[in-house]
Amino acid sequence: MKFKLINISFLIGIAPLVILLFLWEFFSAGPSPHFPAPSYWYLAIHQIFNNGQLFNSLWETIWTFIAGLLISTILGIFLGVLIGINQVVKDWSLFLLEFFRALPPPVIIPIAILLMGYSSSMKITVIAIATLWPILLNVITGVSQVGAGLIDSAKSLQLSRKDMLLKVLFPAILPSCILGIRVAIPLGIVITLLIEMLTGMVGLGGIMIAGQRNYNSAQVFGILVIVGIVGLIINLLSVLFEKSLLKNWPPKKR
């Protein structure tokens, strides 16, 4: 029931893509420096799969991405609640947050390279900072949208501060946290790839740019496909995770 995706309409929907790839394969003149045939993509990927480069890069990209996202999630929720429940801090940091939001995340990379050098910790820091904003801003909005009635009823129940946070505030802001994380995930993937491309560090972006520098176009296209698949899997996992977290949301009226 859940995986009803794979049915006739899915097959029809994916047909143009498959036909395009077949035409490409059929009409291309072999190992072109610009548009290599899909079969050459496979060969190129097979080669880097065999010498272990593919697995290494994939692992490096995925773990740094997850580490960065974890840090930004924890930090974003923590700071978001702190700023959100405090009207004074919120007012004073309004423009500052606005400016940082307007700053395209990729420009953090050169700053981090200068300050921290080429290292995994630099990479994770950049991913964490770039993905922090959507989460932080959504949490702040979420906190300020918690109804006064909810807070008042919690107060009249004389809940402790801890219960107030864990049992009232946190469940109430959960949907906006998840919204922020959903925005942060594709952004994080982009930033991870971009750092690897700019610095040539180990990772999918790194081998992609290396392929481009060596005019190994088949490798570039092959990794493009792999990046797409990784992106799809991460999206699918995040949707499943989201559903399991929000299965009681919105609360049913009794």
Partner: protein, 256 residues
């Protein structure tokens, strides 16, 4: 104190703290200059013609790429939105291609076009196409069936139906897509310049970083941020004028 004043003073406090921490030596990074030095080299940059040319190049590339993506996106979006059959045929393919990160096309663009404006336009167009296409498509396909009946009763030709009925009805949704895409286009222009096309603000940032010249680098980064904030402000003002009463999300740079 008004909200505006508080917001402004927040920025000043941040700058002041930064200045204090650096000049007192409490925080020390070899390449983290204090704000006074950044402002100093920024003022020098402001007087240079090259600085303005770099800003112009980035804005030009972003708008050009955005215009191409808009035309493509609106045309394809109308086609997909009007015809249920075409939608059924292509929707899955679009859903598979859409999450492909825009940067991943940078090496492909480099292979095809080398270090050039075309490469930059490729990197800008592909990711900016999706918000426009999707918003146009769903803007039209989500319209009520009554409009189809109107088209039938009035015996409108397909082109008339699109121009006079579907397009105006979906205009709000299309504008939202256009707006998300424009901000995205500027980010992608900077990214493309960082990786490939050696012109514009993105390249300037990387150039100053590689020259170990952090004051200029920070000045360029602040420029990019200010342009982004300005465009966000302009777009939300325009959107409020054109579409009064519409709920529009403010965050646009988050959509890469």
């Amino acid at each position: 104190m008004s909200k505006f004043l508080k917001g402004i003073s927040g920025i000043f406090i941040f700058i002041l703290l930064w200045e204090l921490f650096i000049s007192s030596g409490l925080i020390y990074f070899e390449y983290l200059p204090p704000p006074t030095k950044i402002i100093n080299s920024w003022l020098i940059l402001l007087a240079k013609k090259q600085y303005w040319l770099e800003i112009f190049h980035t804005l030009f590339a972003a708008t050009l790429g955005w215009s191409i993506a808009s035309m493509l996106g609106i045309c394809l979006g109308i086609m997909l939105g009007v015809s249920k059959k075409i939608r059924a045929l292509f929707l899955t393919t679009i859903e598979i291609l859409r999450p492909l990160p825009g940067v991943a096309f940078a090496p492909v663009g480099l292979l095809l076009f080398g270090f050039s404006l075309s490469m930059e336009l490729t990197v800008i167009c592909l990711p900016t196409l999706w918000p426009i296409l999707i918003n146009t498509m769903f803007g039209i396909s989500n319209l009520s069936n009554k409009l189809d009946e109107v088209v039938e009763t009035l015996h409108l030709s397909p082109s008339e139906a699109i121009l006079k009925v579907y397009f105006p009805a979906a205009a709000t949704s299309i504008l939202v897509g256009l707006r998300i895409s424009l901000s995205l286009a500027i980010v992608m222009a900077v990214v493309a310049e960082m990786i490939g096309n050696p012109e514009g603000l993105g390249y300037a940032i990387i150039r100053e970083q590689q020259a170990m010249n952090p004051t200029n680098m920070f000045a360029y980064i602040i420029t990019v941020g200010l342009i982004g904030a300005l465009i966000n402000y302009l777009l939300s003002t325009i959107a409020r004028i054109i579409l009064p009463g519409q709920f529009l999300r403010k965050d646009v740079f988050q959509a890469i």
